[in-house]
């Protein structure tokens, strides 16, 4: 049996809440005291009275929302104690600075995964399995059709397409925080040393990653570069810009999108994507189920995503599981 933690940890539609110390985890609105797992806007909102997060996550929040007055840096592995609850952050492998939250009170341990993945990522620390009684997981890609292939192979396909079409540019749509930097790092690792051109919305977070010591090579703004000079080059843009007027001036772009949803053809078609790249910063079905088996928690809580399939899988494997139905989590671009 899992320990009863209801008196100190409550799932509410707007986030996880710790009532004895009045702290929220990834709350959907500004609160007095918050812990933020990572910098994506559906988890990190600005304007909390006090906010604990890793230094890179705080830097990302400052970049997006301006300086946060209540910022309280908490490095991976460091612990604090608040009203009898011991709190520490551990790498989640999702994006730069992403963390799981470990909570311990009266001998019961709960781990909140935030978003995570197990596949290697050159731009962030790998997921750290943390033993716990209750594991609170995401389930963005919790259907057995979602099996993300090795990201290097997807990037190799993209480079092959670019090579086969020297008169076109390769326009890759990718989430501006995390995915875009990972794709650039993978391109560099595959030997692509040419400049990579950026949509304006990409530039500041790229610079932030570089300031954190992640080598992304020669990055240049796409603005003002004549179309002819972009032929044969990679251009990165947020997914919303793929079908936007912005992309019309590019030289006959091969429209690619890097996302776990690209595994399903209908998703790629809806996006008008010519070259779907299955690259995700979330755990796929195999990673989710392997993580649950590895941690073997007494109970699994599922925050958001395809919770029905994961809860059903747990029932088949005699693992207690429940869906929390948290609102406001949007992963359609990832």
């Amino acid at each position: 049996m899992a320990p009863d933690v209801r008196h100190w940890l409550q799932p509410r539609p707007e986030g996880l809440y710790l009532p004895t110390i009045d702290v929220w985890i990834d709350p959907a609105r500004p609160v007095q005291r918050a812990i933020v797992t990572h910098g994506h806007s559906d988890h990190a909102r600005g304007g909390h009275g006090a906010v604990w997060a890793t230094p890179p996550t705080l830097a990302i929040m400052a970049e997006r929302y301006g300086a946060q007055a209540g910022a309280l840096p908490l490095a991976h592995g460091e612990a604090i104690e608040l009203g009898g609850v011991r709190i520490s952050l551990h790498p989640a492998g999702h994006v730069l600075g992403s963390a799981q939250v470990r909570l311990e009170k009266e001998g019961a341990v709960v781990v909140v995964s935030g978003d995570y993945k197990r596949a290697p990522d050159p731009t962030c620390l790998p997921f750290e399995p943390v033993p716990c009684d209750i594991f609170i997981t995401e389930a963005t890609f919790a259907l057995p059709v979602f099996r993300h292939p090795p990201a290097q192979a997807e990037v190799a396909r993209a480079l092959a397409a670019l090579k086969a079409n020297p008169d076109r540019c390769l326009l890759i749509g990718a989430y501006a925080l995390g995915k875009a930097q990972r794709v650039v790092a993978l391109l560099r690792a595959a030997g692509h040393v040419a400049p990579i051109y950026l949509h304006g919305a990409m530039q500041r977070l790229m610079a932030l990653y570089q300031a954190h010591g992640i080598d992304l090579g020669d990055l240049r703004p796409a603005a003002g570069v004549p179309a002819g000079e972009l032929k044969g080059h990679v251009v990165m843009a947020p997914p919303s810009a793929l079908a936007d007027r912005w992309s019309r001036r590019l030289p006959d772009p091969i429209t690619a999108m890097a996302s776990g949803w690209m595994r399903v053809r209908a998703r790629a078609r809806q996006r008008g994507v010519e070259l779907p790249l299955v690259i995700s910063d979330h755990a796929d079905w195999d990673e989710l189920t392997a993580t649950v088996r590895e941690l073997n928690p007494k109970e699994l809580w599922v925050t958001h995503g395809r919770d029905d399939a994961l809860v059903h899988w747990c029932a088949l494997h005699q693992i207690r599981a429940r869906a929390l139905h948290l609102v406001g989590r949007e992963d359609e671009d990832d």
Binding site: L143, P144, V264, Q270, P276, L316
Partner: protein
């Protein structure tokens, strides 16, 4: 996009993916034409058969594919996956747990094996093939086997691609198409210039139908140059007799002789007739609902034949005996048609009558008050028009009756398939019964723009009150203006009414649900 071509079935999988993701018609044509030019025989013939819907692999049914996957994947996880992906072949290709070790089988090898597959051996053989493949090849195989490629390229586009690949005229290809069998060795020999066009003179072939454009500007019509007749609301069909061979074809060239055996049996003249299949009802033509009872059946009971007797109302004549009269003007073809029909059993064949009208006003009057509910408007055909396949500008027009309209209330929404698989895009709507209940009257899944679909999808998600699998029940709060061609009694809905060809013409956020139409009003529209 140019990418190195993979061999065998994965090359065909690449083609399907390319077609799926290619934006426009021209890009799809180029992909198909390139594939047809560069793929060896007989692989390309089987691929062309699949693209044109001409591949029949009777041993592989969707039920078999489901049974195989449910042996390997938990049924609930399968259902949730299928609901999300929206396509059986794709779902199974992704769920199948094998990584395709060993040499992948080629397209021809797979097709030739599956064509002669017995029911008893089918599960083992299909599973064995799937085990040897990677996910894209599995997708291609399952798409082939289930016969619905859903890649946004229909049979006509594939035939056009074939014509373009080999520099042939598409009319010539269409003309010969229906006499040939996959893998189309004669067709490719003709395309490659190794042989002339296949000789088909002695075969009872389908000839592509001549079609009409909607009449957009009635005022611009040169009325004197056009013959008018009714547009009947039945099934367009072609009756063909060559020697002793008789065939009945539907509009898309499928053979339907066995579905309507009384027509085939009565086709006593050597000729090719273009007409409309209709059911004989009390005192005239029966409703489209009555005709629907006869559709899609492979065998027809004596009771069906007696309850819903069918006849062909003839519009046009393509061959008179062995003589091809398609180049002759319409007026001459109609005169010869009259003679041919006169020699046929009047119980099964009659002539669609000529209408007398010399002015646009007279035509408009005819259109506004047709004498039979089975008429959906007027056909206007140039008196000197030859019979040419497809829609040719300026020759034939259809001038349909004004559609009917009703304001209905959205009741249920269901997820679509294929391109719309994440959207709630199938809408069931209702009208008010006298006791204040809302009862369903129809279901529509088009008529709206992409932007409206997004809006509707959001609205459905935000106003769901109940979920039944892929179906959501919504608050009875959104009024949809529905356009439809006819409405009549039906047992399909609890309301006792069903619409013909309903589509959503407007979203009426301005109108409160209580002010939507009543069943009584709708019934009155049925006349």
């Amino acid at each position: 996009m140019t990418e190195p071509r993979a061999a065998g079935l994965s090359g065909f999988a690449d083609l399907l993916d390319g077609l799926s993701f290619a934006g426009g018609r021209n890009a799809k044509l180029k992909l198909m034409a390139d594939w047809l030019r560069t793929t060896p025989d007989p692989d390309r013939g089987w691929g062309l058969a699949a693209l044109t819907g001409g591949l029949d692999l009777p041993g592989v049914k969707p039920a078999l594919i489901r049974a195989l996957i449910e042996e390997r994947v938990d049924p609930v996880l399968f259902r949730l996956s299928y609901d999300y992906v929206g396509d059986l072949a794709e779902t199974v290709s992704l769920l199948w747990d094998a990584e395709g070790t060993g040499p992948a089988p080629g397209l021809a090898e797979v097709v030739e094996r599956l064509r002669v597959l017995g029911r008893a051996e089918a599960p083992v053989v299909l599973a064995g093939l799937l085990d040897r493949m990677d996910a894209p090849a599995r997708y291609a195989l399952l798409k082939l086997a289930t016969g619905n490629l859903r890649v946004g390229a229909g049979a006509r586009l594939a035939r056009l691609a074939f014509a373009q690949a080999f520099g042939l005229s598409v009319e010539a290809v269409e003309e010969h198409w229906h006499g040939l069998e996959p893998p189309y060795a004669e067709l490719f020999a003709w395309g490659e210039g190794d042989a002339g066009p296949p000789d088909l003179s002695a075969r009872p072939l389908f000839r592509p139908f001549m079609l009409a454009h909607p009449l957009e500007e009635p005022e611009a019509l040169d009325v004197a140059a056009f013959a008018a007749e009714w547009k009947w609301d039945g099934i367009r069909a072609m009756a063909v007799r060559v020697g002793a061979e008789v065939r009945l074809y539907s509009r898309d060239g499928n053979e339907i002789s066995r579905t309507f055996p009384e027509i085939a049996a009565a086709m006593g003249q050597e000729a090719v007739l273009d007409g409309e299949l209709l059911v004989r009802g009390a005192g005239g033509v029966g409703s489209f609902n009555a005709l629907q009872q006869r559709l899609g059946r492979k065998t027809v009971s004596a009771k069906m034949l007696a309850d819903y007797p069918v006849f062909l109302r003839c519009y046009d004549l393509l061959f008179d005996g062995a003589e091809d009269v398609r180049e002759a003007p319409l007026a001459e073809r109609r005169a010869r048609l009259r003679d041919v029909v006169a020699r046929l059993d009047p119980e099964r064949f009659d002539l669609s009558p000529d209408l007398e009208a010399t002015t646009l006003e007279q035509l408009a009057e005819l259109r506004a008050a047709p004498p039979d509910p089975a008429i959906e408007g007027l056909m206007l055909k140039r008196r000197d028009s030859p019979y040419v396949p497809g829609r040719r500008a300026g020759l034939w027009y259809k001038w349909k009756r004004q559609p009917l309209n009703a304001d209905c209330v959205l009741m249920y929404a269901q997820r679509g398939h294929g391109k719309r698989s994440s959207f709630y895009s199938d809408f069931t709507f209702g009208a008010w019964a006298p006791d204040g209940q809302l009862l369903p009257v129809g279901k529509a899944y088009f008529g709206f723009t992409d932007a409206e679909l997004k809006w509707l999808d959001q609205w459905v998600r935000a106003h769901t009150v109940n979920r039944f699998g892929p179906v959501r029940e919504v608050e009875k709060a959104l009024v949809l203006e529905v356009a439809f061609d006819a409405i009549g009694p039906s047992s399909r809905h609890k309301s006792g009414l069903a619409m013909r060809f309903p589509r959503i013409s407007r979203i009426r956020t301005d109108k409160p649900a209580a002010e939507a139409d009543t069943l009584e009003t709708l019934r009155a529209l049925g006349g």
